[in-house]
Symmetry: C2
Subunit: 217 residues, 2 copies
């Protein structure tokens, strides 16, 4: 009985239309999450906001959690790219590189007010919490890499402590940004990035000092 059909519509192919709907749902999700909070973010509300029927929800996502993950990626991926780009341009100095990365992170997170709200609210979702943990681990690894390269922490016995320290620094920055977004920290963007980067440098120095017995290679 002929091909399973796939016709142009509104000048768009079937897959274009589908991915456009998906995008609309993700955007609507950000709107709803920002405006009404996570507990009021239901499929019904998201679909209404997107101007789509619930039927189309299942076309792109199997559950709200899947949408949540897609929303997270929608702003965590660009953020990650911004950080990568900033790092590529920064000079080979630990403080400068931390500054560049932290600045890129904060800028990326604050360029869309919805992101800020989502970033804070998002933690209150179990699947997102896991996603967030994975992202944090990745950032911690990037930071560890920088420290290894720029502070001579190559030795193997640094691995575990370095991992702990970078986890703390990255987690700490996340917490600080969260507090800053809530208006609890009376500092400018730049000051936040500055202080955080200084702490990274101090941490690297402390680490290289603490095991000084076997580092004079």
């Amino acid at each position: 009985m002929a091909a399973p059909a796939t016709r142009k519509y509104g000048g768009l192919s079937a897959s274009q239309r589908q991915s456009s709907r998906r995008t609309r749902l993700v955007e609507a999700g950000l709107d709803v999450l920002g405006a009404r909070g996570l507990s009021n973010m239901t499929m019904t509300a998201v679909c209404a906001r997107a101007g789509l029927t619930e039927r189309y929800f299942y076309e792109s996502f199997r559950s709200l959690d899947e949408l949540l993950v897609a929303m997270f990626d929608a702003f965590s991926v660009p953020t990650h790219e911004a950080i990568d780009a900033a790092l590529k341009q920064a000079p080979a100095d630990l403080f400068e590189r931390c500054r560049a990365a932290a600045g890129a992170l904060i800028d990326s997170l604050t360029d869309d007010p919805r992101k800020a709200r989502a970033y804070v609210e998002a933690i209150s979702s179990t699947p997102l919490h896991e996603r967030r943990a994975a992202t944090m681990r990745a950032y911690a690894e990037v930071l560890a890499e920088q420290m290894r390269l720029l502070s001579g922490l190559e030795a193997d016995h640094y691995r575990a402590p370095l991992r702990l320290i970078t986890t703390m620094l990255v987690g700490g920055l996340a917490e600080a940004v969260s507090e800053w977004l809530n208006g609890m920290l009376k500092l400018s963007k730049d000051e936040v990035a500055d202080e955080a980067s200084r702490l990274c440098v101090a941490a690297a120095e402390a680490l290289s000092r603490s095991k000084t017995t076997s580092t004079a290679s």
Copy 2:
């Protein structure tokens, strides 16, 4: 019509019985949260676990969120007390005091396996997230106090940066403990506490160095 009645039952007064039920609900909440996760923690499940009818749930709590907050307090209060006690005994040295506090925190969190699970899961709840934020602020303030006293950071212009740094350190420790509980960090309890405390000392030193121009009092 006599008095509104209040009779002993099982050797307990009315208020004793009520508070006992409340305790049972909190305990059951910890069990359910630990065993089945936050999304499966419903009133029905908690009541079943507690061996109480849903009617009694409303006697002590108006909503699941209220129970969640009570559960949080049930282990955050003892933890806070443990930290206070540890700080009282510790010598007047920043590293030692950080070590004592961090050790007390970790010990308190790991003495009951349910706490650990709850600590990780708990973040995925909006009301708890706020509670957590308040607790973190309190811990950050305690740490800031220690730094001020023991590292000569009394000057007023330290306030904002110090607050940022302590927020990062406390938030970082929380993240690290969370990762450690997940088995992502191959370190012993003591090593975690040691490294974290060392980072606190390094942070204090960096802070006092960075504004050295006006500190030579």
